[in-house]
């Protein structure tokens, strides 16, 4: 589903290279975990996948279902099914959460040539998904992410993901800031989306999340490259021993 080949990317503004020859393949139906020390380029990779303009791809390819997405803007990628749950969800005062959800769902439907949702149908879907994630209706009446606690913001990201039903889900440290109960609720939400035609990329620092969302593959990112890949046991090794050995081996 996702094939990244020898990707090089830099910060558009000052030319600093962050992604330095990265290779990664994620198949449909798979859950892939990406781990790696702070500053290794995990969030940058997720932004590049969703088309953020602050980064420039200088070399390599990103293929999504066999097609390059480099020329597509973020909204076109989203309409094709790419979703990023942000490490730091953005507050937008003045945009009501419900209005935002409705516009996002309907714009994606329009882009795919589907009919817009009726208001009752939209309300029904939001209510149902919010209940699953134990999100209070009062939160949905507030402006988008404004004044949400860290955990509430993460839950709101997963709510958006459930409603938009993307095909490639990228979760950037969705576990950070969640209490133990919320972690379980969010993990259940993510697991409910697991399906043979959907891939999920989980960026995390901790094994704990991977106890709930069990990955098929684990990749270690370091200085803009994948330096090691393995199965779920790799995450256990990292938890026990840290990154030093793997970084040493790669060097």
């Amino acid at each position: 589903m996702l094939e990244i080949k020898n990707l090089h990317a830099r910060i558009a503004e000052d030319g600093t290279e962050i992604i330095r020859g990265l290779n990664l393949t994620v198949k449909a139906g798979e859950v892939a975990a990406i781990m790696g020390p702070n500053g290794s380029g995990k969030s940058t990779l997720s932004y590049i996948l969703s088309g953020r303009e602050d980064y420039e791809v200088t070399e390599g390819e990103i293929l999504y279902n066999g097609e390059s997405i480099l020329e597509l803007d973020p909204s076109e990628r989203a309409a094709k099914g790419i979703f990023l749950a942000f490490q730091y969800p953005v507050e937008i005062p003045g945009v009501a959460t419900m209005q935002f959800l409705k516009v996002a769902m309907n714009e994606q439907r329009k882009a795919r040539g589907e009919d817009e949702l009726t208001t009752p149908e939209f309300m029904r879907r939001v209510k149902e998904a919010a209940a699953e994630l134990k999100i209070e209706q009062s939160m949905l009446r507030r402006p988008l992410n404004v004044g949400f606690s860290g955990g509430e913001k993460k839950r709101a990201e997963i709510l958006q993901m459930s409603l938009l039903e993307p095909k490639l889900c990228i979760l950037d440290e969705t576990d950070s800031g969640l209490d133990i109960d919320a972690l379980k609720i969010v993990a259940d939400g993510v697991n409910a989306l697991r399906s043979p035609d959907r891939a999920i990329v989980v960026i995390t620092h901790y094994q704990r999340l991977l106890d709930y969302i069990v990955p098929d593959a684990v990749h270690v990112l370091y200085k803009g490259q994948v330096i090691k890949s393995g199965d779920k046991t790799l995450a256990h090794d990292l938890e026990a021993n840290g990154y030093a050995d793997i970084i040493g081996d790669a060097a």
Binding site: P74, S75, A78, I92, F100, V103, Q108
Partner: protein
């Protein structure tokens, strides 16, 4: 009509003088009113239209901007439109005149013409100072309008809409409104154009709040693309009173709205929110002065400007804190979303503080669309144009939502949406 100074009159100045000569015979008013009118027009003749050399008009050089005047007569008839908020009581000035019957249960209402005829309006026909062009022109020409007296303790459930609507021509309307002690009310001052004919409109509202009155006053200016609109509101706040004033500019070609507030009673609280939606080749000026004259008063002003195309915007804000006015809390900010390289906005916030124990501040910012917010919306599948429109809307909607009056918020948001749809 030659001026003593021998200064050459511009076309527009000449047109105003001639308009007065033609109008004066038919304008309502007793001898005192006529004297006041004559006095104002000769003051106008002495100074002419203000230029950039006059400090109050530095950013709005009327001599340069106001080249011609439309004929006094309207192009076609104009009738009131449905109120902005359903259920409001509408008092309308149609093509400059009060038409038909009017009544407002629980409030004493008189047509302005009556108060001019019996001379009770004469005292109000004065300029605030030498450079008060709007006060002069409106006072000299005023004809339509209403004088309202809200009794002490009255709690008006339904909004009052003071509507001026015209189809070209010249309109000069005035609304003296007195709110009795402890009364509560919402007033919507709404200025509209019908048809394509160019209009020249001046309006002046004289608003006094007695002790502990609590009032929301909305000025919605939605004139046509060829219209000139000069509005002024003079406000006096008694002890413990609270006024929320919203100025929404969503129309006109050459517009100046002035807000002058005298915070005259302790514990009075004044709130100004300005939303200026500017596009095309328009010039829009919001000028505000506040005088905090007694201790323990508060004021807060937030101005949000959205500027497209080749529009020019101006905000002048001046807060004066008198020596005795200790514990004044006054904050003013002016934020501009500049959406075109050919547009500009001049902001001139000023504080003049003579007391030593106060909390006052001001700030002015010019911003562009926030790229992180734009990326977030687009990453959810919202195309760039729509995402931008949402963010522009959000920039002003935030201010509207503060009103906490759902029908009013919805009505204003609809006005803003419609304006943005046309311009974005």
């Amino acid at each position: 009509m030659n001026m003593q100074t021998g200064m050459k009159l511009s076309v527009a100045e000449m047109a105003l003088c001639e308009a007065y000569d033609h109008a004066v015979g038919e304008l309502p008013g007793d001898a005192a009113v006529l004297t006041a009118r004559d006095g104002l027009i000769s003051e106008f003749k002495a100074g002419g239209l203000p230029t950039r050399r006059i400090e109050d008009w530095h950013y709005t050089d009327l001599k340069a901007l106001l080249r011609t005047l439309p004929d006094r007569a309207p192009v076609a008839s104009a009738a009131r439109v449905e109120p902005l908020v359903e259920g409001s009581t509408v008092l309308s000035v149609e093509n400059g005149l009060v038409a038909g019957d009017f009544s407002l249960p629980g409030v004493e209402v008189r047509a302005l013409a009556e108060t001019l005829a019996d001379g009770s309006a004469a005292a109000g026909l004065s300029a605030r100072n030498r450079d008060d062009l709007i006060g002069k022109i409106n006072g000299a020409f005023v004809r339509g309008g209403f004088a309202l007296d809200v009794p002490a303790g009255a709690a008006l459930e339904k909004p009052i809409e003071l509507q001026t609507v015209q189809n070209g021509g010249q309109t000069h309307a005035r609304f003296p409104v007195a709110f009795g002690a402890g009364s509560t009310a919402t007033v919507i001052e709404r200025h509209l154009a019908l048809g394509e004919g160019a209009a020249f409109v001046t309006t002046l509202s004289d608003v006094t709040l007695d002790d502990n009155a609590d009032v929301t006053w909305i000025i919605l200016q939605a004139q046509g693309v060829t219209d000139t609109h000069f509005g002024q509101v003079r406000i006096r706040l008694g002890a413990g009173s609270k006024l929320r004033l919203y100025v929404v500019n969503a129309g006109g070609k050459l517009v100046r709205q002035e807000v002058h507030v005298e915070v005259a009673g302790e514990e009075a609280d004044f709130i100004l929110r300005g939303i200026n939606l500017l596009g095309g080749d328009t010039h829009n000026d919001l000028t505000f002065t506040a005088a905090h004259n007694v201790p323990h008063t508060t004021s807060s002003e937030i101005i949000r400007n959205v500027v497209f195309d080749r529009a020019h915007g101006v905000f002048q804000g001046q807060i004066c804190v008198a020596q005795d006015a200790q514990k004044t809390d006054a904050k003013m900010s002016c934020n501009t979303l500049l959406l075109s390289d050919d547009a500009d906005f001049s902001a001139k916030p000023e504080l003049e503080i003579f007391a030593d124990d106060v909390q006052c501040g001001h700030g002015a910012t010019v911003i562009d669309i926030d790229h992180t917010q734009l990326f977030y919306l687009m990453a959810r599948g919202i195309p760039e144009n729509r995402a931008r429109a949402m963010l522009v809307n959000a920039f002003v909607a935030e201010i509207v939502e503060e009103l906490e009056d759902e029908p009013l918020v919805e009505a204003l948001e609809a006005v803003i949406d419609r304006w943005l749809e046309k311009h974005a």
